[in-house]
Amino acid sequence: MEGSSPTRRRRKAVAEEENQIASSTDIPKETDIVPSKRPRNNDPALARRAISLLRSRLCGHSQPLLLPEAQENERKIFELLSETIRNASNNSILLLGPRGCGKSLVLNKVMVEIQHEYPERLSVIRLSGLLHTDDYSALREIAKQLCVEHQLVFSKAASFDDNSQFLTTMLRECALSHKSVVFILDDFDLFAQMSKQKLLYNLLNIMQSREAQALVIGVSCRLDADQLLEKRVRSRFSHRKILFNPPSADDLQKLLPQLLSLPVDSSTIDTNYAEAFNASIQDMFKSKDVKNILLSITKVDLSPRHMLNFLFLVVCAMDWKYGFLSLSNFKQACVALRRQTKLESMRDASVLELYLLVSMKRLEGKERETYNFITVFKEYKSLHDSHSTCDLYPQEVCQRAFENLLDRQLIMIADGRRSSIGIEFCPVKLLVSSYEIEEGLKSSPVCPAILLQWFAHEEFK
């Protein structure tokens, strides 16, 4: 949480860029984007239908468009699966990659295909590290899913031992009937962080025997997920890994217009309108302003999920009376997605809160490492003693403002917990950098002039 220097620098860069974008295009001129020769859409119902369609495409679970690398990965996983089924072998694999890069998406797609290709030859068990937080519940869930799969009655009262015995028996039975059991472990790293890694050990250990026929697929966003494994678990793991990298910015730029275009041959959407809409999208993505905005978005995060979020915001901002996307939609979405939370809360802070922040900043300037409300208040008072302003408030009022600052997360209690003495003696830390305070003071509509001086000149008394 503490702003170290690289993040501060990054924030600074982001902020500057934001200003550029905001200043360069203050007044949206929608007519620039859609030439007047194109027929104006006058039917809002059409536009609403188009928005609905785009939204379900962006947020739905079956996102059809895959990037080239993902397709390559898809092929690899498919081959591994079919090989496992055909050879009746045991395997394990890890799918690694940052969040939102399509690991689960690709996996789900492959599973559908493989079930189509080899019907009745495999049963799938899905676990998630977020949901199944201990061995007991995980094993129970496995038993349950096995029961559902094979039309058995699941006993709620089954103990841990019962379930684990059931699992072994089932695996053996499945192997005898040439059925592979696929375990998909979502958030694999969380399973690895459980105590003793009993579940992982059990699963991988069963696979060592010839009796079972199983495949363990771990999905994780931690690239070092296999390093988390204990030695006895790691030695049973195959160390096969597939990496999912975020796509390049160029690929994304090509993909985005496709995601936003409407189908021309649909029954629900008028063909003329769809064509006009698609043409306007193509024009938009060629314009320089939109390219700049996309660049600023992709600079932060390249993952497809991030882009989908962005496009979702763009589509939601669309005015259905107007019927087409406009440049202002893109700008709005860009601002909405990249919130500068600290600056926003600085902008909202009251005058007294700003005074306290500057006092803390000055204390830091004096190389005071720890400070609490009492010392901050002393500094605040000493400033006011030398320059009488109208903003000198008694201690209780200031303490209120101090608590508000804590609520706003501009400061935090240094050791993370409130001590029993009371809030005024807890050591606190600033969560905003000097640069952010400066920006915040400048952007605040209520900041008095003298406060800026106090901030700028440390020796100023």
């Binding site: 739905g60 998630s128 949901l131 199944h132 901002a317 909405a336 209780e396 209520v446």
Partner: protein, 498 residues
Amino acid sequence: MRAADGGGGNPICCFPSGNGSSRVTEGNALHSPNSKAGETSRRTRSRAASPLKAAIHQSHSQHEGQHLSEEAWIAPDMLYSHLVDRFPARNSEINQLLGLLGEPCDLLFPLFVYGGASTGFLIDACTFAVSDKAGSINKGLVSPQKKKGYRGEERDGSLPVVYLIFDNVELLLDWSGGFRLISALVRLSEFSGLENLGLIFISSLGPDAFFSGTGLLEAIPIYMRDYADDDLHQILLKEKPNRALYSAFLSAVLKPFSRVTRRVTELSEALEPLFQKYTEPIRRGTVKPDDQGKRKLFSFIQPHVTSALHQTCSLSFSANSLLLNGQKKISADHLELDFQLSLCSKYLLISAFICSRNPATLDATFFDSSGGSSKKRRRRSSQTAVEKKELERQEKLLKGPGTFPLERLLAIFCCISADFADELDEIELTSMDQRSGVEMSSDVLMQVSTLVNANLLYRGSSDLLEGAPRYRCNASDDLIQAVSRSVNFPLSRYLYRM
């Protein structure tokens, strides 16, 4: 978590069962602190203790076909103007939210609505907007059984979205495993396999607290800014009987108040007594509420503004101090306490204050007239010594009041009550004098525990080695000054000055 009714099936029941996190939720829901209850006066509905419970409650009530809002159903075209009317100064936010929510069947990503405390109504606006939509479409809830068939169908957006709203998500951070629960909730739609889930998280903390560093899937942030001065004027004016007069009052007082705080709850609380004062001349009939009268009223109220500002803001407790639950310092505003204390407790309180402020090594110099380090060596204060002193003082400020064992408190109490009791001639005192001077009766110990109960003394954890509990004086300087004045005790003579 399982749906109680057998018919349609509640949408939340498709959450994979047998999971750890949901058990965590249920377990903790009973204990979760309902800390913000004091602040919700502006809400139409009270917040539930657990976000998950609230969500379940809401989806249940939807299922029963009840409208969540007390108002009648509003046509979609009128929704925007209605909301703007109900929640002034929130046009852009309402616009954005309505855009994101879209039509009843439009799918959406998880939304994360956040804003400071007491930007409260807007959060209500959000629930209102959603419930209004959800209320009109409550027939078509999906059951998990239908889901499989649905996937094969051509997806023509025929299914309405089921909205789950999680209020006060920031409380989850205090739970054990809270982070995990939140990340599971954000991905609820993925886990359940339902596309038409609308997840909305409402929090008073920004997204930084939730989504930073954990690599979690980010929800779309929507910020509710604090109200500006004009907005506050508009809001505080709402539902006031005499609008013209109140408006004039606000233009006179709002500016200085908004420099301190811009929370609507705090402001309305603080302004109420001031408005009573403002209208006093009118009620007495000395001033008529016309333009001339307003000018008079303005000059009449001006001197009161500052004092009201200083008093009211400190009297009302914020959510934070409520969380501290009584460990809030008793401040000088509670001076009525002064009159309820017995003389014995006053002396106890003073001695406790001395114990907390003075280092224990100096007790002998202050209280033992015969001994102690009587030979005062005056050393020339060198540069380093001054710096050292300064450092020491800083340390002291940082640490707060010190702790002391019961024996020290009683010893000092004996000294000061013996010294000063005979200087006063009160009836109560003479009886106390005989008792406390010579022997420590059980009454005094009773008084100590009373002071602890009244939160003037804080009873800390017992020392590991000694085994006896240590105490700390919780009273503020001002209060002690007032108390010592009331018994004519020369406090400053006994305080160590650094």
